[in-house]
C-alpha cells in the first residue's frame, strides 16, 4: 500500500521538479553569464572612456538584477521542493550533499551582497572600486553553478560515503568533489 501511494505521487513530484528546474536553469544561465558581460563592458568603458560602454553596462546591470531576482525566487522554490518532494532522499543523503548546497548558499549570498553594491554604487563609488565589485558577482555566479553541478554529478554517480544499516556513515565530501572524474568534467 505504501508503495502504491509512493508511485502515485512520483509522477506529479517529478513533473513539478522538472517544471521548476526548467524555469530556473534559463534564469541561472543568464545569472552566470551576465556578470561577465557587465564586467567586460565596464572594463571597455574604463579603457576607452566612451560613455556608450557605461550605458551598456548600466542597462545590462538592470536586466541582470531582474533576472537574478526571479532566479533567486525559482531557486528558493527548488530548495523547498527538495525537502517537500524528496523527503526520504534528503533525509538519508542530506549529510552527503549538504556541504555543496551550503557552499552554494554562501556563494549566492555573496553574489546578492555585491549586486546591491554594484547596482547602487554607479556614481557613488570610484570607477575602479565599482568595477572591482563586479568580480565577486561573476566569481560567485561561477561558484554557485559549480557547486550545484557537484551535487548533480554526485546524484549521477554517488560516492564518498558508506551505508551501514540503512544509514549513511563515513561521509567524505572532499573525495566526492575532487577525485572522481565525473565531477570535474561536466562541471565545465
Amino acid at each position: 500500500m505504501a508503495i502504491l501511494a509512493l508511485s502515485e505521487n512520483l509522477l506529479p513530484a517529478r513533473l513539478q521538479m522538472a517544471f521548476t528546474l526548467g524555469a530556473h536553469i534559463i534564469l541561472a544561465c543568464f545569472g552566470v553569464g551576465f556578470p561577465v558581460l557587465m564586467l567586460l563592458a565596464e572594463w571597455r568603458y574604463r579603457t576607452t572612456g566612451e560613455m556608450v560602454w557605461k550605458t551598456i553596462a548600466m542597462r545590462w546591470s538592470k536586466a541582470f538584477a531582474v533576472m537574478f531576482a526571479i532566479g533567486a525566487v525559482t531557486g528558493t522554490t527548488l530548495s523547498f521542493e527538495l525537502g517537500l518532494l524528496w523527503p526520504h532522499f534528503m533525509g538519508t543523503f542530506g549529510s552527503v550533499i549538504g556541504l555543496a548546497f551550503t557552499l552554494e548558499g554562501f556563494a549566492f549570498f555573496l553574489e546578492a551582497i555585491f549586486i546591491g553594491i554594484y547596482l547602487y554604487g554607479w556614481d557613488r563609488l570610484s570607477s575602479r572600486v565599482h568595477w572591482l565589485t563586479a568580480f565577486p558577482i561573476a566569481i560567485s555566479g561561477f561558484a554557485s553553478a559549480a557547486f550545484v553541478i557537484t551535487v548533480n554529478s554526485w546524484m549521477n554517480t554517488p560516492q564518498g560515503f558508506r551505508m551501514e544499516n540503512g544509514r549513511v556513515v563515513d561521509v567524505n565530501p572532499g573525495r566526492r568533489c575532487s577525485i572522481r572524474p565525473v565531477v570535474r568534467k561536466p562541471f565545465i
Partner: protein, 82 residues
C-alpha cells in the same frame, strides 16, 4: 554547464541587439558595441564548449553507458556496444 551559460548569454545578447539593429538604426553605436561584446563572449567560449562536451560525453559513456544510450535514443542494443 558554465561555459554553456556563457555561450547562451553571449549569443542571446548578440541576437537581441542584432534584431534591434534590423528594426531601426537609431543608437547604432550603442547596439553594435553591445552586439559585438556578446558575440565575443560566445565565440571565445564555443570552442572550449565543444571540447568540454566531448569530454563530458566520454565520461558518461564510461560511468553511465545506459544513460548515454538513452540520450542518443538507442533503446535496443546495437552493434559496436562496449
Amino acid at each position: 554547464m558554465i561555459l554553456a551559460a556563457y555561450v547562451v548569454t553571449g549569443f542571446c545578447v548578440a541576437g537581441y541587439y542584432a534584431g534591434s539593429l534590423l528594426r531601426s538604426t537609431r543608437y547604432q553605436d550603442y547596439k553594435i558595441r553591445a552586439m559585438s561584446l556578446g558575440i565575443w563572449l560566445g565565440v571565445v567560449c564555443i570552442p572550449l564548449q565543444i571540447l568540454s562536451g566531448d569530454w563530458a560525453a566520454k565520461v558518461v559513456a564510461k560511468t553511465q553507458p545506459v544513460k548515454l544510450a538513452a540520450m542518443e535514443g538507442l533503446y535496443d542494443t546495437t552493434a559496436g556496444r562496449r
